[in-house]
Amino acid sequence: MSNEKHHIVPFRIYVWVLLALLLLTSSSIAITHIELREYTVAGALLFAVIKTFLVMYYFMHLKFDKPYIRLMVGAVFALFLIVIIITFLDYLYR
């Protein structure tokens, strides 16, 4: 058990991920200055989702962990998504 090799993530990967995150942040700020009306929210949220993926995959080590942890995280997000869909089905079709 304790002989298990741990993957040591090199620093430069973290620097690249940070740069990507900063780029996505400035993009999400830039997109709100363009007149897109309802697509503005969708755009900003899309950037947030990509950032979440980057943070979870690299910073939270999901990429290097055993697959079952990824599966658990996926299941929780699926549950959350279902709750959102059900809530909005209720409000949109009242």
């Binding site: 620097v15 700020i29 200055h33 929210v41 947030a48 959350f80």
Partner: protein, 206 residues
């Protein structure tokens, strides 16, 4: 060999600890997730009011705090690599930077909230009730509850990281036993993740 090793150490199971931390993070995600759903429903019902109220928030401070948290997330992620490389000085330094950035975040938040309070914008204020519509009051209510709960998580995260630093200095955390450091990192990244959504939802409505 294996048995003598086990007899020397007290019970230590990094994989189980990590699963425990993830399960806790799931409850946190659902707690904030519930708040995000409340926010979305009210925003859907009070579209114009949310846009008006959000104009009161300073996008610049929000953006600065986003950068601060992203950088602090990187430094604590690097700390996990540094401890595995047995570079304990660098680990302590990286954790110290993380705590410092957390303080910067809280300082910004303090001035930001302070300015709102000065203008009479706080939950239940008479100024808010007289000058703003129901939807705008809802927006500010959600703003204070959600960023407040998030700030509480920042404070808890700071205490967690300082505790890890103390254990590291006392050699209780080292290259063979660092799951506590990893878990404090997971917690800190969760705090970062929540802010990644709070920022566009509160500051980037134009």
């Amino acid at each position: 060999m294996e048995q003598t090793l086990h007899a020397q150490h007290d019970h230590y199971d990094p994989e189980a600890s990590k699963i425990g931390m993830w399960l806790f993070i799931f409850t946190e995600l659902l707690l904030f997730g519930g708040l995000f759903i409340i926010y979305s429903v009210y925003r859907y019902l009070n579209h114009e009011a949310f846009h008006l109220a959000a104009a009161e928030l300073d996008t610049f401070i929000g953006a600065v705090n986003t950068v601060v948290l992203l950088v602090s997330s990187m430094t604590i992620a690097m700390a996990t690599s540094a401890v595995q490389l047995k570079n304990y000085r660098l680990t302590l330094l990286l954790l110290g930077i993380t705590v410092f950035l957390a303080l910067v975040f809280l300082g910004n938040k303090y001035f930001e909230w302070g300015k709102k309070f000065e203008h009479g914008i706080y939950p239940g204020s008479d100024y808010l009730k007289e000058n703003f519509s129901q939807g705008e009051i809802l927006f500010f209510g959600l703003y204070f509850v959600m960023t407040g709960l998030h700030a509480l998580h920042i404070i808890i995260g700071m205490i967690f990281i300082i505790w890890v630093m103390v254990k590291l200095a006392r050699k209780k955390i080292h290259s063979e036993r660092y799951v506590l450091l990893e878990n404090s990192g997971l917690y800190w990244h969760l705090v970062d993740l929540i802010w990644i959504f709070l920022f566009p939802l509160f500051y980037l409505i134009t």
